[in-house]
């Protein structure tokens, strides 16, 4: 049975193997790839790599500024952790996953930040049943992802770090400073971080931002800000690369249309930037619409076409899905989007059939 989502290291196994086989650069200890090849794995490469008699193309997997990835990779070669910061939907998690897959071949060593997170989740917990029956031994330790990462020299992903409570966050400080984790219950067992261990954390600037972090913890991280995509071409490429594979994987036999992709990319880029492609100002939204939102709408649209519309294109339906997105936004933003449709989309509909078809869906917004 097909899985809903493959792990990055599984999905791109062949590419990773080809890169490893062709990597001539210096690698930090316990890294599977050199920083140069990690960069190629994430940002794509024109070179085709030979591996076991086949040539492998390294596809672009993450859309955004290359220098951001460069800064992230380099941070992981230092003794500071990496904190990816940005608004929701900019690809922080994806980048974190790709980095882990490329650097240590394991993107699953992950902690999810949340209110209920405990120090045990960060460090370790004990199997008390075993402890009572066998007495204190290393077998009794239930290792956290950080424990495992330190022990084996692997990366640990900490999703939404700032969602967890401050004292819990701060339990990372000593781990990141000394690279040491002590288990007093088991004969003061000491876990020393092996080379290759580091933490990739993410934090979303819209909810509990990085300002919630203690200064002491901030000092243990280098911050890399993930900006939103600002180029139409990049936005289109990103949508295409994300949506078509999803449809194929989910056996939705439909091919996305270039003009529809451009249409959605344009709408999202304009709403995000607060101006049209040709520079005319439009009302800015208080909430940001991310690339991930664009992907979501496109997936919904094509799923609907496939299951309910006999695969027949109907751009007005896009508006219906935009409305679903807007439902979580405040009223002001909903009005702003309606205004955008009533002015910009309406004007374009007079000259362009596709925009006219889209405009027919305006009733969904009212």
């Amino acid at each position: 049975m097909m899985l809903i989502k493959d792990l990055a290291e599984v999905k791109y196994k062949e590419e990773l193997d080809a890169l490893i086989a062709n990597d001539t650069y210096n690698k930090p200890e316990n890294w599977k790839l050199s920083p140069q090849k990690v960069l190629e794995f994430i940002c794509g490469s024109n070179t085709k790599y030979q591996y076991q008699g086949k040539a492998y193309e390294i596809k672009k997997k993450w859309y955004g500024n290359k220098e951001v990835v460069e800064a992230a990779v380099i941070t992981l070669t230092t003794d500071r952790g990496l904190l990816l910061v940005g608004i929701p939907g900019t690809g922080k998690t994806l980048l974190s996953e790709l980095l882990s897959a490329a650097i240590c071949g394991d993107s699953t060593n992950t902690i999810q930040g949340m209110q209920g997170l405990t120090i045990e989740d960060i460090k370790y917990s004990l199997n008390y049943n075993m402890l009572l029956t066998k007495g204190p031994s290393l077998e009794c330790i239930i290792k956290s992802p950080i424990y495992s990462g330190m022990e084996s020299g692997k990366l640990v992903r900490f999703e939404e770090l700032t969602r967890s409570l401050l004292p819990i966050q701060d339990s990372l400080i000593s781990i990141m400073s000394d690279k040491v984790l002590m288990v007093p219950e088991i004969h003061n067992h000491l876990v020393q971080g092996k080379r290759g261990f580091n933490i990739i954390a993410t934090s979303n600037t819209l909810d509990k931002g990085v300002n919630e972090m203690s200064h002491a913890l901030k000092r243990r991280f280098n911050f890399v800000e993930i900006p939103t995509i600002s180029s139409l071409l990049e936005e289109i490429s990103m949508l295409t690369s994300q949506v078509q594979p999803f449809l194929t994987q989910n056996q939705i036999d439909i091919t996305i249309k270039e003009d529809i992709t451009k249409l959605i990319a344009t709408i999202f880029l304009e709403l995000r930037d607060g101006k049209t492609i040709d520079g005319s100002p439009i009302e800015e939204l208080n909430n940001s619409v991310s690339s991930a939102d664009g992907i979501g709408i496109m997936k919904n649209y094509y799923s609907e076409l496939y299951y309910y519309n006999n695969k027949k294109e109907s751009p007005a339906l896009i508006v219906k899905h935009i409305k679903s997105l807007l439902n979580r936004f405040p009223e002001g933003d909903q009005k702003a989007v309606l205004g955008y449709f009533n002015t910009i989309v309406k004007n374009r509909s007079k000259q362009d059939e596709l925009w006219a078809a889209l405009y027919k869906g305006i009733s969904y917004l009212k």
Partner: protein, 742 residues
């Protein structure tokens, strides 16, 4: 080098005229240029500076003249016209010319032809060019700066001169061809280049080996605009991997002593140290900026920036870190707050690297006063132990000298000498004996450093300044004062004109930035002559003081006008009135008519905009220092050569300060009526509204033939686009401060 290479075509060592392409402000361009000049050995160097300022530039090439930069105040903020510093490629070539006693000439359009409002930076063309965009994409660079840094600035290490020039031309030609094809070369640039070609052609008849040094964008067009270029192979990536050779031992000496400004600061450090120190230096400078914002930066942060910078450079294939590697490292390692705060820090970084605007020196650099000079002079006059003194300058020679010195100090606003009182009455051409009292404060020297603009970039206060003083006393005379004194000695009558000519040029270029440097150059010459004082009669010496005072005071005050004229209408009026008041009261040693002539000359030399020119003339007209016909002549001239708006500005300026012109000058009334008849409704308001207020108040409406028309337009609906109630309000307010209700 291949026969059909760009190098061969543009820069062949055997060519009678060669076109060396530079990037302005680039230390790497300096290096290659300095090597190339030695190989080519020109007998004439032509440089992209305004024609006619050669004499001035010669002054600035002297080792002891402090690096300065020139901006024109009329150019929009942030643009520099020319950067003159030790690492400016233009300056490298001029220095070579001066040192080797060969000729050099500036070939860009002269100041009076340069339409500063339309001035276009060629780099703007380059940045928006489609070829550049494609090139940046191909090379994964964010912008032209980063591309240049990667391949030409830190890459300069291992490349041959020929390859460097060849590759630079390779891109320049593509960039220019794109612009030519799209007809997007600015007309202003075409005009400037046409002038440059004219000067090159003129000189090619007289010289056999001419080196033309211009920004690369011009270089391509100067030799042959229509040469064919095959764009198909324009992205020659082999060069991009090429590395540039290291023979930079003399580099250190070429680019010594200057910090600051744009990316150049960073690469200056790079070329100077060529090891880890330049990054360390930048980190230290940046930290000092951040500390001003009370930002905590620890040694661990510094180390992290250092580590990340180098690792990023390595990852990006840069042999040495570029500015962008460094900035990315700073962003990643220092910033731990919201994005908005990051912007503030980045601005700090920018300030540390660039200064408040291009062409200025960052505030963080130390500014040293002329401590020794002032102290010594205080001692020489026996003033150092005094807290006050009363002088009789017109009756005692020594007092005159002291007075000149103290007046000079007061111009610098150092607070070292404050004039308490003065008893003098000025009548036309008659000097009434007077006395003046001064409050002295010799100990205040150190605290006044911020007020003086003479900047010593050397490491040590003493060594830098001592060298300067030493030179001042012993080295050769600067050319300009030399000419001046020759003229004085030979009794030429046009000496004032000579000074005014030079002053006008100086003001035009230096009013906004390094006025005091120029004053020092003048001062230097005067001191030289003081040493040679035996040869001068005391009368002549006195005359030189008068002239000197005039220059200093006029330049100082005029600079205020020039500086403010573009930004604040109200300040312009006040600045001129202040100047007028200042000169009337303080310039007691001056011949009044010469003062007026001088002012007119300066005001007339396009240093101000037309509004302030009008205001200035208005004030002069008010006291009848200028004949009305001169005003009308000027008005007609402006009408011919300027836009209508500029003409309104001029007339408005005059009337604003001098309403009597309307009652005393019929020609003016006729002229204004004629002008009004030509106004369209759209352009009517701006001019007519003020005019109406003034005319109504001082003249009565009956004198206007176009009374009804004015009423329709001005009292109508104010639909005209130019009407600005704020300006009106301000004008009324200014008049009110003079006790006049409009």
């Amino acid at each position: 080098m291949k026969e059909n290479s760009h190098f061969n075509y543009f820069c062949n060592y055997n060519s009678p005229v060669v076109y060396f392409p530079i990037r302005h402000d680039s230390p790497a361009s300096c290096l290659i240029l300095s090597q190339y000049i030695k190989q080519y050995q020109p007998d004439l160097i032509l440089v992209e500076f305004s024609h006619g300022i050669e004499l001035l530039l010669t002054q600035l090439t002297k080792n002891t003249t402090f690096p300065v930069c020139i901006t024109l105040s009329e150019i929009k903020k942030g643009n520099s016209l020319y950067l003159i510093s030790d690492y400016s490629p233009e300056m490298v070539s001029i220095k070579y010319a001066v040192d080797h006693k060969i000729e050099f000439e500036c070939i860009d359009v002269p100041p009076f032809l340069l339409s500063t409002t339309n001035y276009t930076e060629t780099e703007e063309n380059i940045l928006t060019n489609k070829y550049t965009q494609q090139l940046l994409k191909e090379t994964s660079c964010r912008n032209y700066d980063e591309w240049w840094a990667k391949y030409f600035e830190v890459g300069v290490d291992n490349i041959k001169i020929e390859d460097y020039i060849d590759q630079f031309y390779h891109h320049l030609k593509a960039i220019r061809d794109f612009d030519e094809m799209n007809q997007s070369v600015d007309l202003n640039i075409i005009e400037r280049e046409s002038y440059m070609r004219f000067r090159i052609n003129e000189n090619s008849l007289k010289y056999k080996r001419i080196l033309v040094v211009t920004g690369g964008y011009h270089s391509v067009a100067l030799k042959d605009k229509n040469s064919n270029f095959n764009i198909a192979n324009s992205f020659n990536t082999s060069y991009l991997k090429a590395i540039i050779p290291a023979s930079m031992k003399d580099y250190h000496t070429i680019y010594q002593g200057m910090l600051g400004m744009r990316h150049t600061n960073f690469y200056y450090h790079f070329h100077t140290f060529r090891n880890d120190h330049y990054i360390i230096r930048m980190i230290a400078e940046f930290n000092s900026q951040l500390k001003k914002n009370n930002t905590l930066i620890t040694a661990a942060d510094e180390l992290m920036v250092y580590e990340v910078t180098y690792k990023l450079a390595q990852l990006r294939g840069n042999k040495y870190p570029t500015l962008y590697d460094y900035i990315d490292a700073v962003k990643t390692s220092f910033f731990k707050t919201d994005i908005i705060m990051n912007d503030i820090y980045l601005e700090s970084l920018e300030a540390s690297l660039v200064g408040s605007k291009i062409g200025t020196v960052p505030e963080s650099y130390k500014v040293y006063p002329i401590i020794e000079d002032i102290m010594n002079t205080f001692k020489r006059f026996g003033l150092h132990n005094l807290s006050s003194i009363t002088l009789h300058p017109t009756s005692k020679t020594k007092d005159l000298e002291i007075s000149r010195f103290l007046n000079q100090l007061s111009v610098f606003e150092t607070g070292l000498a404050v004039k308490k009182s003065k008893e003098s009455v000025y009548e036309f051409n008659v000097l009434i004996p007077h006395s003046e009292s001064w409050k002295l404060n010799a100990n205040k020297v150190i605290e006044t450093s911020q007020l003086l603009t003479l900047v010593n970039y050397g490491e040590s206060l003493n060594s830098g300044y001592k060298n300067f003083i030493k030179f001042k006393l012993k080295s050769e005379l600067k050319q300009f004062p030399y000419l001046l004194y020759n003229s004085i000695l030979s009794g030429e009558t046009n000496v004032t004109q000579l000074i005014l000519d030079e002053t006008a040029v100086l003001i035009k270029y230096f009013a906004t930035i390094d006025l005091m440097v120029i004053i020092n150059i003048l001062l230097q010459g005067i001191n030289e002559k003081e040493i040679l004082g035996e040869t001068l009669s005391s009368k002549l010496l006195e005359k030189s003081f008068l002239i000197y005072d005039f220059i200093v005071q006029t330049m100082y005050a005029t600079s205020n006008i020039v500086y403010k004229s573009n930004t604040d209408y109200k300040n312009t009026i006040h600045a001129f009135l202040k100047l007028y008041k200042y000169l009337s009261k303080n310039a007691y040693l001056l011949d009044k008519q010469k003062l007026i002539d001088g002012l007119l000359f300066i005001l007339d030399s396009d240093t101000t905009n037309n509004l302030s020119l009008g205001i200035s003339l208005g004030v002069l007209l008010m006291d009848e220092y200028v004949e009305h016909k001169k005003f009308v002549e000027k008005m007609q001239m402006i009408r011919i050569s300027n836009t209508k708006e500029e003409l309104y500005d001029f007339i408005l300026g005059v009337i604003t300060v001098n309403h009597r012109i309307l009652t005393h000058n019929d020609e003016m009334i006729i002229y204004i009526n004629q002008l009004l008849s030509e106004l369209s409704d759209d352009e009517f308001g701006y001019f007519a509204y003020f005019l109406r207020s003034i005319i109504k108040r001082f003249l009565g409406e009956e004198k206007l033939q176009l009374k009804s028309r004015i009423k329709t337009v001005v009292f109508g609906k104010h639909q005209n686009t130019n009407y600005n109630p704020l300006i009106e309000k301000e004008i009324i307010q200014i008049f009110r401060t003079w006790g006049i209700e409009l």
